[in-house]
């Protein structure tokens, strides 16, 4: 047998590269997973409740039942992701054992640790983590995340926070590119991020891993908006299966993500999609229920 290496950084980040330009959809059962696969999703996120229902339900949101995750793994041929609580490294161990393809250490669930995230270098399976700004993205990458996603505000159907976080990351990257080398040390201090990653971003003008947009995407135009703002792909949570015609909307969001710079196609696929999810204004959410503020 030839020598092989599993779980290397390139194997993890390379897998994220393969999902670029695609849509990752939240699903709560095998039937929804098949609808997502039929629509052309590049992966599904298996969870017991979509974020909109987690908001409605209240209480502590945890990792999904392993039986439910396995039923989705068995139902589809595309990659399956699942969420663990921030800092809950045992939930992460369990999800790795189940054979999920990617773990989302997610603010959508109730954090298990108010200070530390999971050390993601300890795992063979790759991780994706949320961020609101460049410093948060680089801290997660330093902890071993192979992919990041801007957080937005999950379960709202309101794209405004997704836009805010994407613009913040982009403008902070652009700002680094204008700095002289001696300024980067202080920039690293201010971003609270490791210097070597800050220097890499300043030199290359992008994040070292794939960045998707999440948290509030509900329409094909929302997905295309985030793509035009520079993300590599989109997560759609409640937006699909909380709408009137999930299958049609899922296909439309896939088309709009691929053709994000073609308004004629976005117009065509946006027709007669039925009702979108109702949505919530961010200012109507109590401060302690803002999910994006979870994570450190």
């Amino acid at each position: 047998m030839t020598q092989i290496e599993i779980g290397t950084l390139r194997v993890k980040t390379g897998f994220a590269e393969m999902m670029k330009g695609g849509v990752i959809m939240d699903v709560v059962n095998a039937e929804q997973a098949k609808i997502a696969e039929d629509a052309g999703a590049v992966a599904v996120m298996a969870l017991e409740r979509v974020p909109a229902d987690i908001r409605l339900h209240g209480g502590v949101a945890r990792m999904s039942d392993p039986t439910m995750v396995e039923s989705i793994i068995d139902a589809v041929s595309i990659p399956v992701m699942a969420k663990c609580r921030i800092g809950h490294f045992v939930e992460a161990q369990v999800l790795e054992t189940l054979g999920v393809d990617f773990i989302d250490e997610s603010e959508v669930l109730t954090p298990a640790d108010d200070e530390y995230h999971v050390n993601k270098w300890d795992y063979t399976v790759p991780f994706v983590c949320g961020c609101r700004n460049l410093g948060e993205a680089l801290r997660r990458i330093a902890e071993g995340a192979a992919m990041v996603r801007t957080k937005g505000e999950p379960g709202t159907g309101n794209v405004v926070e997704a836009v805010r976080h994407m613009r913040t990351v982009s403008s902070e990257i652009a700002a680094l590119q204008n700095l002289r080398s001696e300024q980067l040390f202080t920039a690293a201090k201010n971003l609270q991020a490791p210097y070597d990653l800050v220097e890499w971003v300043a030199k290359h003008g992008k994040l070292p891993v794939v960045n998707f947009s999440a948290g509030g995407i509900a329409t094909p135009a929302d997905a295309a908006l985030m793509m035009q703002l520079g993300c590599d792909g989109v997560f759609v949570g409640s937006g699909i299966f909380k709408s009137g015609d999930p299958s049609k909307r899922a296909k439309a969001i896939v088309e709009a993500t691929t053709n994000f710079d073609n308004p004629e196609i976005i117009a065509r696929v946006s027709r007669n999609l039925g009702e979108a999810m109702v949505g919530i204004n961010i200012s109507d959410i109590p401060e302690n229920e803002i999910m994006a503020n979870r994570g450190w």
Partner: protein, 192 residues
């Protein structure tokens, strides 16, 4: 020379970057008219079910087959190799390959992402060090037709194959920074 990169979904930017570093003019292909006048087409890695759906919704199947019949070479990596095959084993009924390469291909043949790996493989036609091969939920070739040539293998199983103007590779040379496989496509496959 002009090479198109199918830019529906997946790692198309990496292929574009490899080709440009080799001084080749490239164009992103999303619509049929963009295939005209191409010497070669790269079908990148990505999610093969998603790319197949998008090939259909963008009416690209017949134009790609026609361009190939008219002399265009095609290079598929991972999902791209799956889409080139005559037959996909374990495919969903609606996942239709381009059906050009005389092989059967099995999706996710090495297991789920936790089984993804990298290793060195010698590559027939590329001199010097072996190629670093990154296998990500990679497919496996079987039932090779009589004119299919094996270019690299691992433990006796083919991992890169060629049939005339078609080059199909189960791993991801576009992720390594090593341009020799792209150069092989340009010099040996298009150039032959």
């Amino acid at each position: 020379m002009r090479i198109g990169v199918l830019a529906l979904q997946g790692a198309f930017r990496e292929h574009r970057s490899c080709l440009r570093q080799l001084g080749v003019e490239t164009i992103d292909v999303r619509y049929p008219h963009e295939l005209s006048g191409l010497d070669g087409l790269v079908i990148p890695g990505g999610e093969s079910t998603a790319i197949a759906k998008l090939l259909a919704s963008h009416s690209l199947y017949e134009p790609i087959r026609n361009a190939y019949e008219n002399g265009m070479a095609i290079f598929g990596t991972c999902a791209g190799a799956i889409l080139l095959a005559k037959k996909i084993e374990g495919a969903r009924e609606d996942q239709i390959p381009l059906g050009l390469l005389n092989v059967t291909i099995k999706r996710n043949a090495y297991g789920r992402q936790i089984a993804s790996f990298e290793t060195d493989v010698p590559f027939r036609g590329i001199e010097g060090e072996p190629v670093r091969a990154i296998f990500i939920r990679a497919p496996r070739f079987a039932d090779l037709g009589p004119d299919v040539e094996v270019l690299s293998e691992r433990d006796g199983e083919p991992t890169a194959v060629r049939e005339g103007r078609l080059l199909a590779i189960a791993y991801h040379p576009e992720l390594t920074g090593d341009l020799r496989v792209h150069k092989y496509f340009i010099d040996q496959v298009i150039g032959s």
